[in-house]
Symmetry: C3
Subunit: 360 residues, 3 copies
């Protein structure tokens, strides 16, 4: 019911935001309507990706999923990068990692924990994912750490270091795909069969219209790009009108819009006691951002002539380190309850305050 | 025997310190005698709290214990705050966390480990506590991190951020009480029954005189306040005479005085191979300070017109992070031996040196 | 085969480097030949140490092993310290820790993992070692942290703090020897019997000629000293000619030379599925450097009038913290696979880039 309103009803905001833009509405209004319009589109994008993946089979499907899984965020980021908002794009990378690990996982554990006294998931995968996350986060934040601890690092050195790091990360990303799809695919079977169950119970048809879904994928991708243009075009004015800093917008606002699909999925399955899947959506999405989206943006930015290094605000470094640390500490034992969920949400709230209070 | 001397004999220092004050003794002498006088009073305060808790039953008793568990430290801190020693109070917060996690837990594991080759405790609780500690410590240190990594944060912003953090922490504290006393009380049964055993074996009478213990509680609380006044009043002169910095006094000296009761309990039960209880006293006390005492002091300071933010010395941030990290790494497997205990004590010693060598 | 070339063939570089030095060859050439000459000497040094240890029995043999296990690094470091290269010596300490935890352990897990789908080792020991490493690393880096977070720490205070830390570390080192050889020796039996197996399979003779091996030990030690003189004497010019900074030489180059023996052993046994032994070589070597070699150098430097404090480059602090964090996170579950190995190697590569790009 709620889901239907979300998937179909909110689509009305696609034309509304476009009309608003054409009629020259107030920036904040266009910003808000295009933000709302992206929510159902992100949902459709991920549905289409998953449907096509099923037809393509585990290997190619997995690859498609791995590439298009964070398509909404990637599109918003490329549009913003093109418009020269490198600061906002960088902030939205850290914000997505923090949001997935703390807010998505936290709400899932909290709401799931209200229904079930204790929920379990596979600690082996949780630990391996934690190690991959640790590497990815360390790599992404290394240029910041180098810049913060050493005086006199030139912008050129930071750019070179960022590109080197980006290449290593994309290699590691390919290795994790090889690991999870080829050499150690059996480790991931538990989660996958649960995911299939989850979908089947929602009654998706066995005969899938591949062509239809490919058209949906392409059409929705275009719409997301379009709406991203409206969002990014009004970003500066709208946030100024709302009294928000660029940092807060990038770290808190944009990721909530871009990750709406993951939020919904992770929380829904957690409330059905499929914690395994819920955790893997939240952690998997963070991993994809750190290992694939972020390095890709560094390389795209370099080609686009909008060089984006990985030199973040030092407080972003603190925030990501904190998020990874507490997410590791909570997920490493393969169990969760409502208190653990609320700890994650509380950490998110505290970091949110800190970003809100950061001076421009 | 030793315990009797401690509980009764040292009470003699209560009148001694008062007389010393009235006769205008040297500050260092009054400081030392009032410090010694607080030791048995802290013991009686915690005994009275526990006795009344038993009568009140698990729920209200637990609440009383949770509120008055660190009463001595709270009283000293409020008196010091009132006298304007915000620096010392802040230092004593980090010092209490470090002291409980490293010195109390370390000595317990070391002395217990000399008697028993390997000691065990529940790793589930250890991990949940570790996660709560991580959140609390992160929250308390966040304003410091924000200030250290960002130029130009005003005192007002730090104060606002500190109050926001304090409110989130008190909410989390209430949630942990709800968790441990209501929704997941069964998880804590093991520790509790051991605690009861411990007390029973020491032969405390089944018929408890509630009125007597309430009078003791009130009387002792007054005496601790009184002695705290003497302690704080002579603090500045005494430490100057001893050649100690304010930071060293706050981080090392005061917490040893304020936590004497926890030290005694944790070590005594560890030597009786009740490691579960010993660890929960040490970690529980740190948690209470981080989740309840510290935020309460921020709020009290704000009302008292002695605004105390959570902007610590950056090295205190390092020290607390180090203490939590190593305590987590040692307690997470639910086992301990003398070497692990000595590692904790060695870390404490090294941090002690570092604080001792810090310039004013 | 490969091993024979390594052990005997490369010895030819001992006379080559000496002749090169006498004939006044280019510095880079002497540097490279003496570096290659050290590789087989380090191998013979560790073989001789082990052979003598077997005769001396577990207690004295273990002590000999613990003292001479990193003899090559110690000799190079003392020669370099004597020549006034305190910066390079400090860098080589952090470099050895990073190299052992990331490169040696990473290559072992990666190459071992290519042959065996999953490899196991004892998590109990891994965790205890991790705790000891945490303490050691914290202690070594504390003076740096104190200096970085506090303005106005004098060189004298840093020196005093470093000596205090060094003494605590050597005490802890003695305690870990006491623990592993006396009070809890049984915990280490698994690894030891595997180690014995490994040696026996390589067919070493049962009747050992003690005198012969002692002569080898003394002779090789002299040669290593000699070659270290050549290496250190040409260090400055050679690295300048190669365009490398002092930091990069110390952190990346020297440790690869000094740790060649550990590299070979750890990787060889990992490929024979003796992961237990492989991990204990890598972690054990890091522990020895942090707990014994580093503090010893501080104390030797003080006596030699070449005072060496423990105030590292802040980025070295970041690098070591990162190495310990990710090594802990990967080794704590007692299992490894090729992906985990490649994560460690990738972290090493990224840190290597960062050190390479550090300005002088």
């Amino acid at each position: 019911m709620f889901k239907k309103i979300f998937s179909y009803g909110l689509l009305a905001f696609v034309p509304i935001s476009v009309i608003g833009h054409l009629l020259g509405w107030n920036s904040t209004l266009v910003f808000v309507t295009s933000a709302i319009a992206i929510l159902p589109l992100a949902g459709w994008l991920s549905t289409a990706t998953e449907e096509i993946s099923v037809v393509l089979g585990p290997s190619w499907g997995g690859l498609l999923n791995a590439t298009f899984g964070n398509a909404t965020e990637l599109i918003i980021a490329i549009v913003a990068l093109n418009a020269g908002f490198t600061g906002v794009v960088k902030a939205s990378i850290t914000g997505s990692i923090i949001g997935n690990l703390l807010l998505v996982m936290g709400l899932s554990m909290f709401l799931g924990g209200l229904r079930y006294k204790e929920q379990e998931f596979q600690p082996t995968m949780a630990r391996l994912n934690a190690s991959v996350m640790n590497l990815a986060v360390i790599a992404i934040l290394l240029p910041t750490a180098a810049n913060f601890t050493t005086a006199g690092i030139s912008e050129e050195i930071l750019q070179n270091l960022s590109i080197s790091v980006a290449i290593v990360l994309i290699v590691v990303y390919c290795l994790t795909l090889l690991f999870s799809m080829k050499t150690h695919a059996y480790l991931y079977d538990v989660g996958k069969s649960e995911a299939d169950d989850a979908e089947e119970k929602e009654g998706h048809p066995q005969e899938i219209n591949l062509k239809l879904w490919i058209s949906v994928l392409l059409g929705v991708t275009l719409l997301v790009a379009l709406e991203s243009e409206l969002l990014v075009g009004t970003l500066e004015e709208a946030t100024a009108q709302l009294g928000l800093t660029e940092l807060f917008t990038g770290v808190i606002l944009l990721p909530i819009i871009g990750n709406a699909a993951e939020h919904t999925t992770a929380i829904t399955v957690a409330m059905k006691n499929k914690m395994e899947l819920s955790v893997s959506v939240a952690v998997g999405s963070s991993m994809q951002i750190a290992l694939f989206v972020a390095p890709l943006l560094v390389i795209i930015g370099w080609f686009m002539g909008q060089p984006m290094d990985l030199n973040f605000n030092p407080f972003e470094l603190v925030a990501v380190a904190v998020a990874v640390l507490i997410a590791n500490s909570i997920s490493s034992d393969g169990r969760s309850n409502w208190l653990e969920g609320s700890l994650l949400v509380a950490t998110y709230a505290i970091l949110g305050f800190a970003f809100y209070f950061q001076p421009v």
